[in-house]
C-alpha cells in the first residue's frame, strides 16, 4: 500500500461527507442515563438562589418559632399549675419548716402526732436558748404526753 494515498484519504475524510463519517453517524447513539441528567442539572443550580427549598424552609421558620414559644409556655404553665404543685400535703410541710426555722413556736398549730420527736425536742431546746423557758416547759409537757416512752438525751 503506497504511502501517497494516506494524505488523500485524510483530505477526503476532512472535507466531510466521507463514507466512513456517514457510517459512523448512522451508528446508534445511546443517550446518557436520565439519572445523570438530573444530577448534572441539579449541580448546575447555584445554591443561594437556584433552589426553592431554602425559600420553603424560610417560610416555615415563623411557624416553627411560634410553635416552640407555645410549647415552652405550656411547659412553664404545667410546672406552675400542674398536678404536682397542688399536692395537699406539700404546702403544710413547707409552712411547717418555715414556722420552726423563722421563729420559735409559741403554740404549735400541728398536732403532736404529726411532730417528729427529734425535731420537736430541737425546737424546745431552741425555745430554751431563746429565753422562753415557760413556753419550753409547756412544749416539753406536751412532748411527754405525746411520747411518754421517748428517751430524751441528757442535754435536752
Amino acid at each position: 500500500m503506497p504511502d501517497e494515498r494516506i494524505p488523500d484519504e485524510l483530505d477526503d475524510y476532512l472535507r466531510g461527507g466521507s463514507a466512513l463519517s456517514g457510517q459512523y453517524k448512522r451508528e446508534s447513539s445511546p443517550p446518557p442515563p436520565h439519572a445523570l441528567d438530573r444530577m448534572v442539572l441539579e449541580a448546575a443550580r447555584p445554591a443561594p438562589f437556584g433552589s426553592k427549598r431554602p425559600f420553603k424552609h424560610q417560610s416555615l421558620a415563623p411557624l416553627a418559632f411560634a410553635a416552640s414559644v407555645l410549647l415552652s409556655l405550656a411547659l412553664v404553665l404545667a410546672i406552675i399549675f400542674g398536678p404536682q404543685a397542688k399536692k395537699p400535703d406539700d404546702k403544710p410541710r413547707v409552712m411547717q419548716v418555715r414556722m420552726f426555722k423563722s421563729e420559735p413556736p409559741r403554740a404549735s398549730p400541728v398536732s403532736a402526732r404529726e411532730r417528729n420527736p427529734a425535731a420537736w425536742l430541737a425546737d424546745i431546746s431552741a425555745l430554751r436558748r431563746a429565753g422562753h423557758r415557760a413556753e419550753a416547759d409547756v412544749e416539753m409537757r406536751r412532748f411527754r404526753s405525746a411520747y411518754p416512752d421517748y428517751i430524751i438525751p441528757i442535754n435536752e
Binding site: I6, P7, E9, L10, Y13, L14, G16, L20, S21, Q23, Y24, K25, R26, E27, S28, S29, P30, P31, P32, P33, L36, D37, M39, V40, L41, A43, A44, R45, P46, F49, G50
Partner: protein, 204 residues
C-alpha cells in the same frame, strides 16, 4: 452527531458566559446540546459504560466548579472536550488495569460497547447492523490516541488544529493520529463492504 459552525460556537460561548453570570437556563441549553456528543465520546473512548458515566459527571462537575473563571478564548466545544480529554487521561492513568484488560487488538473489545436498543436496530437490516457493529468494534480496537482523534472529529466536527489543542499535541501529531485512524477503520470495514468478502449467509 454534532457539526458545529462558528456561529453556533460563538453562541455556545455566549451561553457559557451567561451561565458564568448565573443564568442556569443557559447551562441547560448547553447541556442539552453537548450531552450526547460528550457521552458518546467518553463511552467509545474508555469503552466502559460505568466509567463513561462517572467521567461524564466529572466533566460537567469540573465545568460547573470552574465557571467563574471561564473566558471564551476558544470555541466552547474545544473548552469542554479539553476537560473531557484531561478527565479521560486521568482515568487511564488511574486504572491501568483497564488498559491491560482491553488491549487495542482484542477482538472481544466490542463486547464492552453497550448493546444498541432494539428499536434502533431492526432485525430486517441485518447487514447494516452488522456493519454498525463492525465499525464500533474497529473504533474500539484503535490505539487510544488514534481512537480519541477520530472520536473528537466525529463527535464535535472540530478541525485538526483544534483537536491538537484539545489533546495537547502538535498539529502534525494530531493529523498523523487521525490519518492512521481513518486508514485502519477503512481497512477494517473493507471486507464487509466488498461483496466477495461477505461471509456466506442465507436470508429468508
Amino acid at each position: 452527531m454534532l457539526q458545529l459552525k462558528m456561529d453556533n460556537q460563538d453562541h455556545d460561548a455566549g451561553l457559557m458566559l451567561r451561565y458564568r453570570d448565573g443564568d442556569t437556563a443557559a447551562f441547560a441549553a448547553l447541556y442539552a446540546h453537548y450531552k450526547g456528543p460528550l457521552y458518546r465520546y467518553l463511552l467509545r473512548h474508555v469503552r466502559n459504560a460505568g466509567a463513561a458515566a462517572d467521567l461524564f459527571q466529572e466533566v460537567w462537575s469540573h465545568l460547573i466548579a470552574t465557571r467563574a473563571r471561564y473566558e471564551p478564548r476558544a470555541k466552547f466545544a474545544t473548552f469542554l472536550f479539553h476537560i473531557a480529554h484531561n478527565c479521560a487521561i486521568d482515568f487511564f492513568r488511574r486504572d491501568l488495569n483497564l488498559r491491560r484488560a482491553i488491549p487495542s487488538h482484542d477482538p472481544d473489545a466490542q463486547l464492552l460497547e453497550p448493546e444498541v436498543p432494539e428499536h434502533q436496530r431492526p432485525d430486517r437490516v441485518a447487514e447494516f447492523a452488522e456493519q454498525q457493529s463492525a465499525l464500533l468494534a474497529a473504533v474500539a480496537a484503535l490505539p487510544q490516541e488514534q481512537r480519541e482523534a477520530f472520536l473528537l472529529r466525529e463527535e464535535t466536527g472540530l478541525t485538526v488544529e483544534e483537536i491538537a489543542r484539545i489533546t495537547d499535541v502538535p498539529v502534525e501529531t494530531a493529523k498523523s493520529r487521525l490519518r492512521y485512524a481513518v486508514r485502519k477503520l477503512k481497512d477494517s470495514l473493507r471486507p464487509i463492504q466488498e461483496p466477495e468478502a461477505l461471509p456466506l449467509r442465507t436470508y429468508a
